[in-house]
């Protein structure tokens, strides 16, 4: 068998594919963070909690209301998005324009409260979510067994990421959004409702996190801390890509997934640290991130 880096090619391909799947999650989560940072200049530490809320909404919806996976995929993001809009209206708006630190502390505090309540209510073992019938099973690719659900995750995440990118970069609404990022005062003078735009943006960011949460529910154990564990890596991804850069977040998310996947075969002990190592290197060479604009 062909060997690459002393590893059989088949194994390497399998690991790269898995890396791509994880990368899809990173991309989806870091995209939400990037959008929120872009317009609100808020480092949304509640993102992990919103991801967790999405997963729990799916579990609770199924157990108490009998809502199936496909309904949850739509309803959970809507619910969490609405909650996000309330948070923006009620809390974040009050500290708009203040130092980044206030937004960070506020959202971090919110995340701790929400996670604490969920630990109290559901414990830490969490819950399991059944795999939807349609996506059970898998394909034998020859070099590995690919569960259908994982393939679906990549497709769903990429489609949502690209739609978001298209909406922001190619539509009129997106152009308002980008203009609002550049100069909110001028936009308001043109008669655009910037506060509404901000509320919707935060809501959309939160909804993206919840969407990722529903996608994760059938493959990872749904626990109150599932988001907190992932969030730090996702932040590193955003920093590497360049804070606020949409395409940067998507591409970096996928790339980090791949790099992490490779690390897991070559030197598994470092799998949790490799992303941060890359972050340090990128910050040394390009302080604004790979896709960020130097200011």
């Amino acid at each position: 068998m062909t060997m690459v880096f002393g590893i059989p090619l088949g194994v390497l391909l399998g690991q790269l594919l898995l890396g791509l799947i994880n990368g899809a999650f990173y991309a989806l989560l870091s995209l939400g963070l990037a959008i929120i940072f872009g317009l609100l200049r808020i480092i949304n530490f509640a993102h992990g909690a919103q991801y967790m809320l999405g997963a729990f909404a799916a579990v609770l919806g199924l157990n108490y209301l009998g809502l199936n996976y496909w309904v949850a995929l739509i309803v959970a993001p809507l619910l969490v998005g609405a909650l996000g809009m309330l948070i923006e209206r009620g809390l974040l708006r009050r500290i708009a324009g203040e130092d980044h630190l206030y937004g960070l502390l506020l959202t971090f505090g919110l995340a701790l409260i929400v996670e604490g309540c969920f630990v109290k209510l559901f414990g830490v073992s969490g819950a399991s979510y059944p795999m939807p019938e349609l996506l059970k099973g898998g394909y034998n690719l020859g070099f590995m067994f690919l569960p259908t659900y994982r393939a679906w995750v990549v497709v769903a995440a990429l489609v949502v990421c690209l739609l978001t990118w298209y909406m922001i970069e190619r539509t009129r609404l997106g152009s308002y959004l980008r203009a609002g990022t550049e100069n909110p005062k001028l936009m308001q003078a043109f008669g655009i409702n910037v506060p509404l735009l901000i509320t919707l943006t935060y809501g959309y960011g939160a909804a993206l996190a919840a969407f990722a949460g529903v996608l994760a529910a059938p493959i990872y154990s749904v626990t109150p801390t599932m988001g907190a564990n992932l969030l730090i890596v996702v932040f590193a991804v955003v920093v590497i890509g360049g804070m606020g850069s949409i395409m940067g977040a998507i591409v970096t998310g996928l790339a980090m997934g791949l790099i992490e996947g490779l690390t897991k075969v070559i030197y598994p002990e470092a799998a949790n640290t490799i992303v941060f190592l890359v972050m340090v290197l990128v910050l040394l060479v390009r302080p604004a991130g790979l896709f960020g604009k130097e200011t």
Binding site: V11, L18, V124, M131, G138, F145, T225, N229, A271
Partner: protein
């Protein structure tokens, strides 16, 4: 000697005299401290449930010994050794706590038990896994009650080997506990003529195990052993199920799996899994009756750790009553002299190294069709006699043994 040192030594001397002059039951109260993870990864293993079991034990005992009240303190150790040690330090220094129980994360236990030993108190460890607690870290001031990593690895690995699983691949959590477990498994597998084809050490904690499961699958081993715990084990098992590990003929062996883990994952994912447990709620009439009472109070069936806390506390209180003292060594001697006979253990005995030896159970997770209720999760395949389950004294490095 400066002023500070003088003052410190005076205080020390006074407190030594004071403790020597203490009455048989200090402060006219029996004080028990409950230290556990109340909010993190190991919360559901013991946490508030363990505290409930402790309260049940105290209530069942009548809440007092010869008119002396039994008082419980409890604290969250956050799974941090420094927090655990300083909490216990405060308990023994300021509140004169006589006994500490709960004690879940092995790292916290090793730190806290040093404080207990220095203060000359007693620790009854129920939650922790590390078998080193009664081996290289054994102490005259603690007793390890419910289970340990040696018994789990030994019980499960032997059973899987006997069922034909000869070649092994080990998935190890990359920290002290995982390494110890990996060594224990390797020893058992090699002793019984099996072989270890490979290991992979994953960072602790990890959320995505697909890569490691794929490597384990690729190794072609008969058995994939999970030398990890808690959420790591849960995620490993779920991933293995999605990647069709069992369908392709490989077996999974979870080394540290608790009732709450199986309950959280559900039987679809876990069916057929072999595991070793120190106790199960559905063993006999007595365990069922106790578990029913616990469930009525707490809302879920107890795992082995709360049951162990109940058993250890009752045994302790009986010993305090019998010896008429709460002095640690007097109580320990009395506890060792009395066999443990309750709903948790039959004829359990406490060895000189502090290990409470009792029967362990080899269990297999039921299929959804076999299960008759939410908590009907295990079938007991075999009772492992205590002397076979735990590390024999002959193989122990405990310093207490050589002194005799």
């Amino acid at each position: 000697m400066n002023l500070f040192q003088k003052t410190a030594s005076t205080i020390l001397a006074t407190s030594l005299i004071a403790s020597a002059a203490q009455a048989q039951l200090s402060d006219d109260e029996i004080r028990i401290g409950y230290l556990a993870d109340m909010s993190g990864t190991y919360r559901d293993l013991s946490g508030p449930g363990g505290l409930e079991a402790l309260q049940m034990a105290v209530e069942d005992f009548g809440g007092q010994i010869d008119g002396k009240k039994i008082v419980i303190f409890s604290a969250d150790d956050l799974n941090k050794p420094d927090v655990g040690a300083s909490t216990v330090r405060q308990w023994v220094d300021e509140r004169n706590v006589d006994m500490v129980t709960g004690l879940v994360a092995s790292s916290v236990v090793l730190a806290a038990s040093q404080v207990v030993e220095q203060a000359g108190k007693l620790a009854l460890i129920s939650g922790a896994a590390a078998s080193s607690i009664t081996n290289e870290y054994c102490s005259p001031n603690h007793i390890h009650w419910t289970y340990d990593s040696y018994a789990l690895a030994n019980g499960t690995a032997k059973a899987v080997l006997a069922n034909g699983g000869k070649s092994w691949f080990i998935l190890t959590a990359d920290y002290a506990f995982g390494h110890a477990m990996e060594a224990d498994i390797t020893k058992v597998v090699k002793a019984d003529g099996g072989s270890v084809l490979g290991t992979v050490r994953h960072p602790f904690p990890s959320s995505d195990f697909s890569s490691y499961i794929l490597q384990a699958q690729g190794s072609g081993a008969d058995v994939i052993a999970l030398a990890n715990a808690g959420a790591d084990t849960v995620n490993s098992l779920m991933t293995a199920s999605q990647f069709g590990v069992t369908q392709s003929g490989q077996k999974l062996a979870g080394m540290v799996v608790f009732l709450n883990d199986i309950h959280a994952m559900g039987l679809d994912v876990t069916q057929g899994l072999m595991l070793t447990t120190g106790w199960y709620w559905d063993l006999n009439e007595e365990t069922r009756a106790w578990s029913k009472r616990y469930e009525d109070r707490f809302g879920s069936k107890p795992g082995m750790v709360p049951a162990g806390i109940y058993s250890a506390t009752l045994h302790y209180l009986n010993a305090v009553k019998a010896s008429g003292s709460d002095e640690a060594q007097a109580v320990r001697t009395q506890m060792m002299a009395t066999p443990v006979n309750d709903m948790f253990a039959k004829n359990g005995k406490i060895r000189a190294d502090g290990r409470m030896v009792h029967d362990m159970y080899l269990a297999q997770v039921k299929t959804p069709a076999e299960s008759k209720g939410e908590w009907d999760l295990y079938k007991i395949v075999r009772t492992i006699p205590g002397d076979e389950a735990f590390r024999p004294l002959a193989a122990s490095q405990c310093k207490l043994l050589s002194q005799n």
